[in-house]
């Protein structure tokens, strides 16, 4: 009876209810579209961060994370092949990839600049596409002195594939060492700062340059990101049992950028959520308040007839709830429709600040977002009618009855 009454009263002033429903639909749609965009971005940033650069797990010699190194590879892994064998025995592991990162000077004979290099195993790193080759080719095992250079660094050094560059860095015994390398390709990472300084070289070449057989770390890529925690625990146990003196970090501990994105988007989303919440609350409470004002005499009649305050209150609460349910359902339907449409028509977004490539606008339609949106819609609409409902239930009966 209460809901029947509420629904009929909602349809009594169609235009006002329609406006309120539109506001609810707008709010729900905004939450779904932006929430889905946010989730999609999280997923995208997370997966690309893991698969292109961090790996799910990184294995280091114990002490690497804590202590400051005074010489290159002071905390390097010595027996990487046996560690790799033990780790790759786990069926959840897709592959492992050893790396050294080093800094030094790069020179074309005329001028020198600082570089940041990642030394990788070409056959392994090929799958981790942290860069796009612009000119030439990627590193290969049969080019032991080949390097690829960030396109802006290449431009500044005035080199193209086929030219050579000299790399100079400090070796493990703290002497300076230099090697001539052949530029096989140029690349972009999409981030200007990287393209200006970074290059990639084969791991073996870096080891020669630094007079060492050690590597800095072993990256572990899993088949599924969901396995991270379990695989980390098991790998740590296996390696400890085999007496390897190592420590492990997972991507969550390393992905500062991912968490910056998450924090930024959650901030924006939270702000947007607050704005939507305020608009919806104001709109719904306004509707309920106007409904009550128009129905003052009706409320007076209910109270005179001995309707309890709680019941009068629940009548208006039910109206808010019903508005929320209708608006929420419509909003979820329209919001997911819009999201599907956006995913369908391939909207190209311009590159974000600091990036050089754009991306396709994608909205992730997760059931959890839809359920949350619906729940927020219902909750907001109901909450908005709490105060007006209380006011109605406390009207002065005689005055309410003589209200025109």
């Amino acid at each position: 009876m209460l809901f029947n009454f509420a629904i009929r009263n909602i349809f009594r002033n169609r235009r006002r209810s329609l406006v309120t429903l539109l506001v609810l639909v707008f709010g729900a749609t905004a939450l779904i579209v932006f929430g889905g965009y946010k989730e999609n971005s999280f997923l995208g940033v997370r997966e690309s961060t893991i698969r292109n650069s961090l790996g799910h797990l990184q294995i280091y010699k114990r002490g690497y994370v804590q202590s400051e190194s005074f010489q290159p590879l002071q905390h390097g892994l010595e027996n990487v092949e046996s560690i790799r064998k033990a780790v790759e025995a786990d069926p959840r592991v897709e592959m492992t990839s050893a790396q050294i990162s080093l800094m030094g000077l790069v020179s074309n004979g005329e001028k020198s600049e600082a570089f940041l290099a990642t030394a990788v195993e070409p056959s392994k790193d090929k799958n981790m596409a942290s860069q796009i080759i612009k000119e030439g080719t990627y590193l290969s095992e049969d080019q032991p002195d080949g390097i690829i250079v960030g396109e802006l660094l290449a431009k500044s050094m005035n080199v193209r594939p086929g030219d050579s560059l000299t790399l100079m860095t400090t070796s493990v015994n703290r002497s300076l060492n230099a090697m001539d390398m052949l530029v096989v390709g140029t690349f972009t990472t999409g981030v200007k700062d990287y393209d200006e300084r970074s290059l990639k070289m084969p791991l073996a070449a870096a080891q020669r340059l630094m007079h060492t057989a050690k590597v800095e770390k072993l990256l572990v890529l899993l088949k599924s990101t969901d396995d991270t925690a379990a695989a980390k625990q098991d790998t740590a146990r296996t390696l400890a049992a085999a007496k390897f003196d190592i420590e492990i970090r997972d991507w969550q501990q390393l992905a500062t950028f991912y968490y910056q994105v998450v924090a930024l988007y959650n901030g924006i989303f939270g702000f947007l959520g607050c704005v939507v919440f305020v608009i919806v609350v104001l709109s719904v409470s306004n509707t309920v308040m106007m409904n009550i004002f128009e129905r003052t005499r009706e409320v007076g009649t209910m109270l005179a007839m001995g309707t309890s305050r709680a019941r009068v209150w629940s009548v208006f609460l039910a109206e808010g709830l019903a508005l929320g349910v209708i608006g929420g359902l419509l909003g979820v339907a329209i919001g997911s429709g819009l999201a599907t449409l956006i995913n369908h028509v391939d909207i190209h977004m311009p590159p974000p600040p600091g990036y050089t490539v754009g991306y396709l606008l994608r909205i992730l339609l997760e059931p959890s977002i839809l359920v949350t949106t619906f729940a927020i819609s219902v909750l907001t609409a109901t909450v908005s009618s709490v105060v007006p409902g209380i006011r109605a239930s406390r009207l002065n009966i005689v005055r309410a009855l003589s209200h025109v």
């Binding site: 009876m1 009454f5 009929r8 009263n9 009594r12 005499r297 009706e298 007076g300 009649t301 109270l303 005179a304 007839m305 001995g306 309707t307 309890s308 305050r309 019941r311 406390r394 009966i397 005689v398 009855l401």
Partner: protein, 243 residues
């Protein structure tokens, strides 16, 4: 002294309305007692305090001074909202403007008071059908108020006021919105209900036809009772029968 058979007793009741800096006295020390089964009209010129008195007797307003006893109980110290269950059980209201719920059908309007008492669905249906038939609207149960004439609306309102079997029905100008023919029909109905069920009726009215039918007429002037007269023998038989 409280008369044991008195359904309502007002003793020394005053009501002042604040109006800006001054207070308007609407009732000044009214003593009135109404017995069970009476059919009483409150009359008097506009502004004499009829509605005010009715509101006090109906426990929807509080006196500024004096006491209102109903069923031998002093209701004055009890907050109005705490008297809600009492009103639902013992009182019925009929208004000049009918005050039906526009979104509810005739049936649902009449059913409303039973929802407050938490009666089962089957019993509710039986009672509503009975009362709709009683007011001559058995065939209109599915219609909304705006599909009914003024007289029909007031009949629905009367069925609604009667359905919880109240001891007292309060009606403020029940015929004032109706033409004289329809008003006469409504009065017939009210009188029949009074005699048939023994329910006490208290009206506030300007309508001479209501005054003529009332077996007791209390006339107010400037917030005080000017005259209180019992009617002729014409109704005595009926009255005795009802008691």
């Amino acid at each position: 002294m409280i008369q044991p058979e008195a359904l309502i007793q007002l003793r020394g009741v005053s009501k002042d309305y604040p109006l800006g800096k001054v207070t308007v006295p609407a009732l000044r020390g009214v003593d009135l007692s109404v017995s069970s089964g009476e059919f009483t009209a409150l009359t008097g010129p506009s502004g004499s305090g009829k509605t005010t008195l009715l509101n006090l007797a109906g426990c929807i307003d509080k006196p500024s001074d004096g006491t209102v006893w109903i069923d031998g109980q002093d209701t004055t110290p009890v907050a109005l909202h705490q008297l809600a269950p009492f009103r639902a059980r013992r009182l019925g209201f009929v208004f000049q403007t009918f005050n039906l719920f526009p979104v509810l059908t005739a049936f649902e309007n009449v059913e409303y008071p039973l929802l407050l008492s938490g009666l089962g669905k089957k019993e509710r249906r039986e009672k509503v059908s009975h009362w709709l038939a009683e007011v001559g609207l058995a065939d209109r149960s599915g219609q909304k108020p705006d599909q009914l004439s003024g007289g029909q609306r007031q009949r629905v309102a009367i069925a609604r006021a009667m359905i919880a079997e109240p001891a007292l029905v309060l009606a403020d100008e029940p015929t004032a919105s109706l033409d004289s023919h329809t008003a006469a029909g409504i009065l017939d109905l009210l009188e029949r209900l009074n005699l048939g069920t023994g329910t006490t009726f208290l009206f506030a009215t300007h309508d001479p036809r209501v005054m003529e039918r009332a077996r007791r007429q209390v006339s107010l002037r400037d917030g005080a009772i000017e005259d209180d007269s019992r009617a002729s023998l014409r109704h005595a038989g009926g009255y005795a029968h009802a008691v």
